[in-house]
């Protein structure tokens, strides 16, 4: 019995040890815990209490599992000491595991003699952010220009849905004269006046009751009522206990506030109100944790720079071994990453699920209403947001992952914002989205680090009419991404006075976007074309129901992207080989192909010996896996110098040639390219065109150049005949002496002749003919030979030369022909600022030409 009892006790102890090791709930050891962001205020005024009623914590277990628990499951074992300014800790216990939370205790007015500094950080930031530096555009260092808005005089907007907080900075001196900073609960005197006509009239008691729901003079917040919408108020805030030795403006400030219907956003938790779709319930838990459940608004108004990190958005946006580890898709991606990077580390967990149907914030714009996103010149910052390391539109087949080792990039699909309408087939007039005065900063950059291919898209607008006004974007995978919209009251995208820079892929993307107008804006620098006008039909063009063309109209704007053509975008779509062929097209501009030197170049420059192109845009079929596939493509990109030109174009029924000849794959020249399997180049100014095989097929509008070369060849041929004749009877000259007879004619080579400008060629031909006529004993005969040949060939062009044997008349007639060649050169492929290139595959590209004579 004793032995049995010992065994039983041992078994019980063993069982208890097992339970102790594995713990409850997850059956695993707890290795860490942290408070969920936004569920507790970690800054408290001295003497105050920390409200833990809504606190949640994320518990981490040894086997990488996590669990979120709320306050009812936790216990405060040591409350924070808020009696002293500085940092203090609060100890919390969950299921036997203790962790600490750091609380920052800030001073109150009781800690100082008086207030030496009272300022609004919001007003300081607002003023700094909207500043416009005169002459910034012309400075060599463009950083100031690129970082400042076009328009800086928009008022400060305030919403009435929640309190407006001036974000006070207060400081004073203690009894010893030492500074005390970050003071909370400062007594202030607040005066409010309402604008009536052109003056501000102080609000009396009735006015306060009408327009103000609540004023908090300690935290300097004002909650405007519904009645305040559309009104303008002047607010003066002064420290009640001010330091009289401080300068007057140091202890007071004034602001003019324009109140609108909207929600004031101060942090990422507030920004979650943007999402009203809550697709698959993904935002439910996060909004519940941050107290944003059920909140709605017609507009959001930024009142601070908003940084969005992983902790601020639903966990469901990221790969997670705990919830998805068993899925085949997770396994495939994880194994591929480990294999490529030759590591045992799990590189997938915590990265973005890169799915085209997903965005952080999804909004369905209410029918008949305009949703406003007012930035007040503040910024939404995604720079710390995780990137994707895989493509996730496919489940398990053909999965691509990022590989630093072999430079493999992925295509980005995930977007920050996604805006759409409920029913594209029935959209009422007035439905739309207005974004203004906002900066946006992405998590990518324009450099060779392949991880940037997993960065985020800025904003996708699907059908919903959008007016983006006075925005700035930097460092996204793609900037504005505009989709679809042939239905009534859809598909109109206006991007006005906006700036965009440094996209890893493109700055502006159209996915069947009906009408995109880029007006008075600047979009520069991408790792691919600045504009991609994507056509969404099938590659054969046989399914009209799904066919949507993208049409871009660039009006009085700078849109450019200087690229080698070997950037990741080009390699991804196998377009790098095609772009390298563009360097051969330079021969058509430099005078090497029998075409007079144009004074233009297809190159934007050179760097490290490699040519650089200004790739303004391309049109292609989005269903193509590679740009080397032949495809049916529709779409257009047009560039107008002014709004007047654009308006004329619209008034003229969108006819090509009014204001500009755009890159448009509905033109017959596209069919020509496909028929001849050649590249066609077209001028944006005149529609003058040339075929890359012009040397053999003469298919060009610039016939004058070819005529010059033809006459040159006649003269060169005549010189050869003359040299031969001089070596024969009756002259019998040696070869050297025979050549010396023609020294003054000096025809040179065809290459040097071709490298001259058109005007230089004309002058040279006349000189050579005159010199030919002056060759002793042979001149007249040879000129007659040239004349006869020219007469025959020009007859084909409808030009009739007189019948004459008189050398002087022949020379005069030929001189007229040479001058007349200009008439055949009225249109040239090189006379515009942009070059439209049509590839036999059905793809179009627009390149900016460089004027070498500028």
């Amino acid at each position: 019995m004793k032995k049995f009892r010992k065994i039983l006790v041992a078994l019980v102890f063993a069982f208890m040890a097992f339970v102790g090791l594995t713990g409850c709930g997850k059956g695993d050891e707890i290795v860490g815990a942290q408070v969920v962001s936004g569920t507790i205020a970690t800054t408290v005024a001295k003497g105050g209490t920390v409200d833990t009623s809504k606190m949640k914590a994320q518990i981490r277990y040894k086997e990488a599992e996590t669990k979120t628990v709320d306050m009812s499951e936790m216990e405060i074992v040591q409350a924070p000491d808020t009696s002293v300014v500085g940092e203090t800790t609060m100890k919390v216990k969950y299921n036997g595991y203790e962790f600490t939370v750091t609380i920052r205790v800030v001073a109150t007015e009781s800690d100082v003699n008086s207030i030496s500094l009272l300022e609004s950080q919001l007003l300081i930031d607002y003023e700094a952010n909207r500043k416009i530096t005169p002459g910034a555009k012309d400075m060599a260092d463009q950083s100031t220009w690129r970082n400042e808005f076009f328009i800086g005089d928009s008022p400060l907007y305030v919403g009435d849905d929640n309190a407006f907080n001036f974000r006070l900075n207060a400081a004073g001196r203690d009894g010893a004269g030492k500074p005390v900073l970050d003071i909370e609960k400062v007594r202030t005197n607040i005066s409010i006046a309402r604008k009536e006509g052109s003056t501000f009239v102080a609000l009396d008691e009735d006015g306060i009751e009408t327009y103000i729901d609540e004023i908090d003079t300690e935290h300097t917040t004002i909650d405007f009522s519904d009645a305040a919408k559309g009104q303008v108020f002047q607010v003066l805030v002064e420290a009640a206990n001010k330091d009289y030795s401080a300068e007057e403006n140091a202890t007071k400030f004034t602001a003019v506030l324009h109140v609108i219907d909207g929600y004031n956003v101060y942090n990422a938790a507030d920004l979650s109100i943007y999402d009203n779709a809550n697709r698959d319930g993904i935002w439910t838990d996060k909004k519940a944790a941050t107290g944003m459940t059920g909140k709605t608004t017609n507009a959001i108004i930024l009142q601070d720079n908003i940084q969005v990190t992983r902790d601020d958005v639903p966990a469901g946006y990221f790969w997670n071994a705990q919830t998805q580890g068993e899925l085949a898709g997770y396994q495939v991606r994880m194994n591929k990453l480990k294999e490529l990077e030759q590591t045992e580390d799990d590189l997938l967990d915590g990265t973005l699920i890169n799915d085209s149907s997903t965005a952080i914030y999804r909004r369905v714009v209410e029918d008949g209403k305009e949703f406003k996103f007012e930035g007040n010149y503040f910024q939404v910052d995604l720079s710390l947001f995780p990137k994707a390391v895989s493509e996730d539109t496919a489940a398990t087949s053909n999965v691509k992952v990022v590989s630093k080792k072999d430079g493999q990039a992925v295509t980005g699909y995930f977007s920050t914002f996604y805006n759409t309408v409920a029913n594209p087939a029935a959209v009422s007039a007035g439905t739309g989205l207005k974004i203004q005065n906002v900066r946006f900063y992405g998590n990518g950059s324009l450099n060779n680090e392949v991880e940037n291919s997993g960065s985020i898209i800025f904003m996708k607008n699907n059908y919903v009419n959008t007016h983006a006004y006075n925005t700035i974007q930097h460092n996204y995978y793609i900037g504005y991404f505009l989709e679809l919209g042939k239905q009534a009251n859809t598909g109109k995208f206006l991007i006005e006075k906006c700036k965009g820079y440094n996209s890893y892929q493109d700055l502006l993307y159209g996915y069947g976007a009906e009408e995109v107008v880029i007006k008075d804006s600047e979009f520069i620098d991408a790792g691919g074309p600045a504009i991609v006008a994507g056509y969404t039909g099938n590659v054969n063009g046989t399914d009209a129901a799904t066919a949507h063309a993208s049409n871009f109209y660039v009006v009085n704007s700078t849109v450019e992207s200087n690229v080698f053509g070997t950037e990741a975008w080009f390699k991804n779509y196998h377009a790098d080989a095609i772009v390298q062929q563009f360097s051969l097209l330079e021969r058509l501009f430099s005078g090497e192909m029998g075409i007079a030197k144009s004074g233009k170049s297809i190159f934007a420059g050179h760097k490290d010996g490699a040519p650089v192109y200004n790739m303004i845009g391309i049109i292609y079929n989005t269903n193509m896996k590679s740009v080397t596939e032949p495809s049916y493509t529709q779409g257009s990109i047009r560039i107008f110098d002014s709004e007047t030109e654009f308006n004329s174009f619209k008034a003229g029924g969108y006819q090509d040639g009014i204001g500009t000849y755009g890159l448009d794959t509905s033109k017959s020249i596209v069919g020509n390219a496909q028929a001849t399997q050649s590249i066609y180049l077209e001028s944006s100014a005149s529609a003058g065109y040339i075929n890359e095989n012009v040397a053999t097929n003469f298919d060009t509008t610039a016939l004058g150049s070819l005529l010059n070369v033809a006459i040159y060849k006649m003269i060169a041929g005549a010189v050869e005949q003359g040299i031969t004749a001089a070596q024969n009877a009756p002259f019998n000259l040696s070869e050297n002496l025979a050549k010396a007879m023609f020294e003054n004619v000096n025809v040179g080579t065809e290459a040097t002749f071709g490298s001259k400008t058109f005007a230089e060629q004309q002058a040279e031909l006349k000189r050579m003919l005159t010199a030919l006529s002056q060759v002793q004993n042979l001149g007249a005969t040879l000129v007659a030979g040239v004349y006869t040949t020219a007469k025959t060939q020009l007859a084909g062009l409808g030009v009739t030369l007189p019948e004459t044997g008189d050398t002087a008349i022949q020379l005069a007639a030929l001189s007229q022909v040479i001058d007349g060649a200009t008439a055949y050169n009225t249109k040239s492929f090189s006379d515009g600022e942009q070059l439209n290139i049509y590839l036999p595959l059905g793809i179009g590209a627009m390149i900016g030409l460089t004027n070498l004579n500028a």
Binding site: G86, N147, G172, P179, N249, T566
Partner: protein, 149 residues
Amino acid sequence: MKKSTIILIAIVYIASIVVISVLGLKAKMYNEIYPVTSIECLNETDSKTIVEDYNGKKLIRVQYTGEGNIETLEGTMVQLIYRVLPDNATNKKVKFVYNETLTRIHFVKDDNGNDLGLVLFTGTGIFNVRIMATDGSQVHTDIVIDVYP
């Protein structure tokens, strides 16, 4: 050179051509940008200033000795020293953001309007200054300058 060596070199040479033809050349970006990720204020206590950490914020204290004068370099002034990271950030230019309604603080600029980080004071006060990147990131660090009597 041995025949076998020559053959080996030829094989490698041809294989290289094939590999590059199949795989292509490495992706190359024309205009690389490396954004600013942080800014540090490097000021330390010296003969004229006392520098402390105040709840994670740098506090620079200087006694007011008269109006700061850029011509004579006399009076009350502070030269802000900072570092922009990463070291290969494309644009390391910064700007200084502060309450411009205050009259006792002046930032010295060069002829092109660029901030030099030199701050002149014409009176006492407590001044919040933000050193901010100008590459669009809005990365910044906040400091406080206490000019005491």
